[in-house]
């Protein structure tokens, strides 16, 4: 009797196993059904990297797997740095990045004998935003941005930035230091300097949106898509880099007029994988051909047509 009871217990624990197995067989059936059209490829493609680029790759992979259900694409979001770590370890064939590859990452790849190629996918315009009720800020120059964001050991008031602005303490909201977004802002605005230590840092851009929405004297920056989604809750600040104040819009970002905060998004591919694995080549080709329209769909800005043409030529060069 006792033995039977133990067995019942064990049987219940293995329910999960059985469930998994059942669903597995149905999955196989689906793949076979749709595997009858045009040229079908087989393969596994592992992609990881920036969470900013993730929505684009998710969209690309979704479309690609409708055409090639036997090519199994997986996309992760370990972050630009985390993605490169896996790329260097040879665990992924492609690595997404929201900033150009760093020298030390290049060196590590060289050491491992991994040749790689950079492909531009889309633009993102880092948008600087303030609270909806903020009626004094109409634009900011790059120098003013630096004054606001660089640490000077004291708290700052809006009146310190430009005369006539209210004497209210500035509350800062910034993406976390692990993100490619921070890295890019660091490069073009902070220029390696220490970000204000009182700034609230968060890896989740929605937290930043909430922060600035709830704080009258708040200011923050994040990806264009987050601004677009919260347009009615936030006020975007036009940026003046010496040629007049420019507001981030699809047009100004695509033309490069919105400078210096418009940044390219990349994917890096291992040359060997492209040359030897037909599926990786085919997937990458599909990515470049569709990145423009799909990135617009998920909230980014497409590159000018020539850029994609250049990308395609580079890809053909790798194929040999």
């Amino acid at each position: 009797m006792k033995k039977i009871k133990v067995l019942t217990g064990l049987a219940m624990m293995s329910t999960a196993l059985v469930l998994g197995a059942c669903n597995n067989t149905s999955g196989e059936g689906n793949a076979e059904q749709s595997a009858e059209e045009n040229k079908q490829m087989q393969g596994n493609i592992q992609i990881d990297g920036s969470s900013t680029v993730f929505p684009i790759m998710e969209a690309v992979s979704e479309e690609y797997m409708m055409e090639q259900p036997n090519v199994k694409v997986t996309v992760g979001y370990s972050g630009t740095g985390g993605g490169f770590e896996k790329f260097i370890a040879g665990e992924t064939q492609m690595s997404n990045a929201s900033r150009p590859i760093k020298d030390e990452e290049k060196a590590a790849l060289e050491e491992k004998g991994i040749d790689f190629t950079e492909f531009k996918l889309a633009y993102d315009g880092l948008s600087v935003v303030v609270n909806k009720d903020n009626d004094w800020v109409d634009s900011l120059t790059v120098e003013e941005l630096q004054k606001i964001w660089l640490d000077n050991g004291k708290s700052k008031k809006w009146s310190d930035i430009r005369k006539g602005w209210p004497e209210e303490e500035i509350k800062l909201y910034s993406p976390g230091t692990d993100s490619g977004t921070y890295d890019y802002f660091d490069e073009v605005i902070l220029e390696g300097g220490q970000i204000d230590k009182s700034a609230v840092l968060s890896e989740d851009d929605n937290v930043l949106v909430q922060g600035v929405t709830g704080e009258k004297s708040g200011i923050g920056y994040f990806g264009y898509a987050y601004y677009l989604e919260n347009k009615d809750k936030l006020k975007v600040v036009p940026i003046d880099a010496g040629k007049g104040a420019v507001e981030p819009t699809n047009e100004t970002i695509e033309s490069g007029e919105y400078a210096p905060l418009s940044r390219p998004l990349f994917t890096y591919a291992a040359n060997k994988a492209v040359a030897e694995d037909e599926a990786v080549y085919d997937y990458l080709k599909f990515t470049i051909e569709n990145a423009g329209s799909l990135s617009e769909e998920v909230g980014y800005v497409k590159l000018p047509e020539e850029e994609y043409k250049k990308d395609l030529e580079t890809l053909e060069g790798l194929k040999k």
């Binding site: 006792k2 033995k3 009871k5 133990v6 217990g9 219940m12 624990m13 293995s14 999960a16 196993l17 469930l19 998994g20 669903n23 597995n24 149905s26 999955g27 196989e28 793949a31 596994n44 592992q46 992609i47 990881d48 969470s51 993730f54 929505p55 790759m57 998710e58 969209a59 992979s61 979704e62 797997m65 259900p69 199994k72 694409v73 997986t74 996309v75 992760g76 979001y77 370990s78 985390g82 896996k86 370890a89 665990e91 890896e203 989740d204 851009d205 929605n206 990806g223 898509a225 987050y226 677009l228 989604e229 919260n230 799909l294 769909e297 998920v298 909230g299």
Partner: protein, 296 residues
């Protein structure tokens, strides 16, 4: 004299009564507030999740893979992936956990070595889950070349919940009355027979209750999965434990960090699915406890 003294005491007593009663009330109120606070928090959380997510729950949501279009996105890969992962976690952590507990309680002598192992297990229970993720990344993903497979994730999660299972099993085994063991020996049973036929059956309620709570934790953890590089977009179902997969917390976390509000609703719907799975597991734990409790 005696009368007077008595009167003084009575007065004092009467004077103190309102204060004592007031104190009594204050503490009662404080504890009620504490209980209500937790309860209200839970209600607010559930209300928020259900109001956001309930309308997005549908058969399609369970049947579709992830998608850039919120209305077409589903959690099929995540649910199946989580079940696959648990198919690794449950047997591995039970065998290792209960095995360790049996050894520590029944076989190991009360010496320094045992105390050392015991102390380490207790410490492991307090290690943040990210650290287990790093351990899994180094050991399973890199050294053993398992990649970001179901097996690697399952083994990592097993390590994560092992301390809890060991401690719960030890408590359960310790609670088995000495008389039962002695009776088994008296009938000529070997130690192994005694453990298998007497100790484990009477401890099984406690062991499984503790273990299932631990499994619930394994289902909900995100950090170790992020660290070992479990992808978030997977549009196929795994065929073996060596395949890539994605799990519910990965999918939910990804959706909450997206800019589009529609995805936040999907995340809420995903959380409801996760909650349902957790509640099912906990009900199984309760059922087992009621069924096997106090049989001996």
């Amino acid at each position: 004299m005696e009368n007077v003294q008595k009167n003084i005491h009575t007065d004092e007593m009467i004077n103190k009564i309102p204060v004592r009663l007031l104190k009594n009330k204050i503490y009662k109120g404080l504890f009620l507030l504490a209980a209500l606070f937790t309860f209200i928090l839970l209600v607010v959380l559930l209300a928020r999740i259900f109001s956001q997510g309930a309308s997005h729950l549908s058969w399609d949501f369970l049947q579709n893979f992830a998608s850039r279009r919120p209305e077409q996105a589903g959690i099929k890969a995540a649910v199946i992936g989580t079940l696959w992962m648990m198919a690794v976690v449950v047997p591995v952590s039970l065998l290792l956990g209960v095995g360790t507990a049996v050894y520590l309680e029944e076989y190991a002598g009360k010496n320094r070595m045992t105390r050392f192992i015991q102390m380490n297990i207790s410490n492991l229970a307090g290690v943040p889950s990210v650290v287990f993720g790093l351990l899994g990344l180094t050991l399973f993903v890199r050294v053993l070349f398992l990649g970001n497979s179901i097996l690697a994730a399952g083994l990592t999660m097993s390590l994560l919940i092992l301390p809890v299972i060991i401690v719960a099993s030890q408590e359960a085994i310790r609670a088995v009355p000495k008389e039962l063991r002695e009776a088994a020996y008296g009938l000529g049973a070997t130690k192994w027979q005694m453990i298998l036929r007497v100790v484990l059956p009477s401890a099984i309620a406690g062991i499984l209750t503790g273990s299932i709570l631990a499994f619930s934790r394994a289902i909900g953890e995100t950090a170790p999965l992020v660290v070992i590089g479990i992808p978030a977009f997977v549009a196929f179902l795994p065929k073996s434990v060596f395949d890539s997969f994605t799990a519910l917390p990965m999918q939910i976390y990804n959706w909450t960090s997206r800019p589009q509000e529609e995805f936040h609703f999907l995340a809420a719907a995903g959380i409801i699915v996760l909650l349902v799975i957790l509640i099912l597991m906990n009900s199984v734990a309760v059922w087992i406890r009621n069924r096997y409790e106090n049989k001996y």
